[in-house]
Amino acid sequence: MEAHRQFDFRNQHYVGQEGRLIPLLQKAQETDGYLTRDRILEIHRETGIPLSNIYGVATFYAQFRMTPVGKNLIRVCHGTACHVAGAKDIGEAIEETLQISNGGTTADRLFTLETVSCIGCCSLAPVIMINNDTYGNLSERQVKKVVKQVQAAGAAGKGGRA
């Protein structure tokens, strides 16, 4: 609950503004890693926004997660250019290496695997992002190597051409 205390949203400048719900949820997710039930109830109590509205918004947008994520978030780009360049094989290679399916989290909570529509690095296709680092021009073998490196380090390294 330590992280919970860090985020006192009465101090957030969004409070009292129109259209504040999405920034509040974004801030909550940034602090907690995902949207906890406690936090949603807290936002409801403090702002008076009906719970149904909060859940409606939270489930509409792809960004919001209702389950915890692993320490490292792997995002496999499935944009047009990456698709044509074999993003499916890249995703499967990661699934095979980590033994999880898309959207899943490893048992040791080190990795969560997600697919995204487009990261916007189309000329480096196929691309993946591990946390905020982008890796481009990947082959199946290279992507396995990258994931294993991060696995060994226990934390994400710097971005780069794998």
């Binding site: 920034p23 509205n53 947008y61 047009t80 690095c121 189309c122």
Partner: protein, 588 residues
Amino acid sequence: MKVLVGLGTCGIAAGAERTYQALVDRRAANGSSFSLAKTGCIGMCYREPIVEFRHPDGRRYQYGNVTPDKLDRLFSEHVEGGRPVGEWLLWSDDGTGSEQAYYAQQTRIVLRNCGIIDPESIEDYLAVGGYQALGQVLQQNKPDDLIAAIIQSGLRGRGGAGFSTGMKWRFTRMAKGDHKYVICNADEGDPGAFMDRSVLESDPHSVLEGMAIAAFAIGADAGYIYCRAEYPKAIERLTRAMQQAEAAGWLGQDIGKRGFSFSIRLKEGAGAFVCGEETALIASIEGKRGMPRVRPPFPAVKGLWGCPTCINNVETLANIPWIVQKGAAAFAALGTKGSKGTKVFAMAGKIQRGGLVEVPMGISIRQIVFGVCGGIKEGRKLKAVQMGGPSGGCIPFELQDTVIDYESITKTGAIMGSGGLVVMDDTTCMVDVARFFLDFTQRESCGKCTFCRVGTKRMLEILTRACEGKSREGDIERLEELAVRVKNNSLCGLGQTAPNPVLTTLKYFRSEYEAHVNNRKCPAHKCGPLLTYSITDACAGCLLCIKACSVGAITGERKRKHVLDPSKCNRCGQCYKVCNVSGAISVD
């Protein structure tokens, strides 16, 4: 000597930060024999990291793939010896370099400062004439003349639909309301398009200036930038640019001491493609689910919180300062009868030179693909180009002489869209491409209209069946019928255009659909479940494929031709992938 490193997202992904750090270290070690600066996207994403050497007399030399280990040679030969390193040189203004053709056919208006200035420095932007256009319109104080000039320039919205920007401004100006808003649509959701990200990362001030000019023209006092959360670098640079512009008095209260006030707030999107549609975008800023509503009333009359609102795309706004400074006639001189100015294309896919190009309207697809971008990778054959993302369509090889303007592109069944241009070669399966886009639109449908919500799902099922060899009779006709209905019975652009990828591929590549549905074959050898593998006489008997086969379908001994039992084969393709002998495993 000034050394610039391109630090857009593409550059960083290719390792530009390591190069930059190596330059910082070099500078610290050798004393400051050169000055170092960051810049945005230079455009040649395929050669990142890119480093530019800018001489005090203005000569410029751009080098590609500059990893830290190349710096020693660059410095000893170019800086100390005064001899440019020909083999790595991409472009120089003295006419040398391997990529001259890339620049030669481009006209840079939107990208005029990209890769030239430091996006994190307002001084750099001011030095190239930044905020002069805003100063000029405030001094003239004739918003109606300004709008007339924008109409005269022929600028049309670059977000996709191509509505006249000046007309949009006029409608918003004429609408009655206490408050008016300007919104910059930076929710670039089309997979395959990244020009807005590049402009925001490389030249954020030009977008802010464009917004301020728009606000002055329509009488708005507040603005929003709605930017995708997937673009962290763009958000970071925009935030910094907004702070700088406020500190310098180009945003905020009483701008330029002319009594005009305008403030901008940045809203991060939360990952919904439909929020690129203007009424959905407004709902999202208001903190609701991003679902479109019926128009009219158009946002120009009743938009954000019920107030008249003008929504323009990033690229549109970046054009504005240039038009104000150089005049409407200069802009209208470029392009075709109905489409003026330039268009930025994000080139991706199986192309030699992938990156950002800005070309005048009226250039043909062939000129962009082969002239500017050097043709297809690995010398393969062009099959189609995909324009306009999930709302667009595939333009086949035979129509490559189609010129780039709104009307000609629409005539092919595709749309101009935001300007993503994905090039496909003969290894691309068009049914698979259509399925890819339907998978996307089906997931991103907000669910409001039944035809979009259910229809796209049914279409996806038909396409998935086709790719897996499970098609039923009449699937192509069913697909066509659904496509037309979804198109006609959806409220917003997402649903109305979602069937375009299917309709265009059906129109131009019907034989591929027939092969999938009727013959259970994939001519491009892409759809795994439709392929048949067999071992030919070229087999050297290396046992690799036997080890790779998970179902034990291949048998044989070392140095003897192996045998594949088709009844056991699960068509996973592993044998084909591991085989080192060309032609030993054939695919049909």
